[in-house]
Amino acid sequence: MLRRSPLIVLLSLEIMLNAGNLALIAFARQIGEMDGQVFALAVMAVAAGEVAVGLGLIVAMARRDIALDVDQASALRG
């Protein structure tokens, strides 16, 4: 993994969700149906929820003085 800050992980997650959104909208335009745009709106809502929970997690980690490094937060690793 190249970046270990959970903040950068969240930002990259946004890029991935937006890539999916772009594909949905492009195919909606190509096929001429609007269902893709409707689903892209749902993806946007999921992305907003993900940011709310993810940033809450990061702030909680910072408050408890846990290192902001996704490699060190491995207590749940099997």
Partner: protein, 175 residues
């Protein structure tokens, strides 16, 4: 002439999208990463406009660039120096493999699209109301009512989860 302008705008938006996307993951300072992501979202909104998704372009700017990114910047400012994440590097093999994998996916997509629509890649005519807020709202409340309700529940649960994670309990100390 109009077609030429569309091509220029499309090329500029696509290049801005790719460039800012690379900047998000390669810039050292997370503050500049977030700013680059705002640029990425703005150029994506231009692409959405070109794809006849006016409402989604507006929602993209309002929801992402307006609300989500402000929250990101607040958290980055709150964390201060602790948010910094130096480029961990990783073996050069990994970087080469990532680029090769991305190129393979690109080739795959182009081949599949070419096979499916090869001689018919021109976009179909759509009515002027395509992408209107009214049309999207109607679809949401008729055909996709279940998705709409699930989305609202997801947002509600996410809001509750954010509050729960952000609250400090007494035993955690005054921090």
């Amino acid at each position: 002439m109009g077609n030429f302008i569309v091509w220029v705008v499309w090329f500029a938006a696509a290049a801005g999208c790719l460039g800012s996307g690379v900047a998000v993951v390669s810039v050292q300072n997370p503050f500049y990463s977030a700013l680059a992501l705002i640029g990425n979202l703005a150029s994506l909104a231009v692409l959405y406009l070109l794809l006849a998704a006016e409402f989604l372009a507006a929602a993209q700017v309002l929801v992402y660039a307006g609300a989500v990114m402000v929250m990101f910047l607040f958290v980055i400012a709150y964390l201060g120096g602790r948010a910094d994440a130096p480029w961990a590097g990783g073996p050069p093999l990994l970087r080469t493999a990532a680029v090769v994998a991305a190129a393979a996916i690109l080739v795959e997509v182009v081949v599949v699209l070419g096979l499916a629509w090869g001689d018919n890649l021109s976009e179909p005519e759509v009515p002027g109301t395509f992408g209107d807020p009214g049309e999207i709202g109607e679809l949401f409340l008729t055909e996709h009512l279940l998705a709409f309700e699930i989305t609202s529940i997801v947002l509600l649960i996410a809001a509750i989860g954010g509050v729960v994670l952000g609250t400090t309990r007494e035993k955690d100390g005054p921090n």
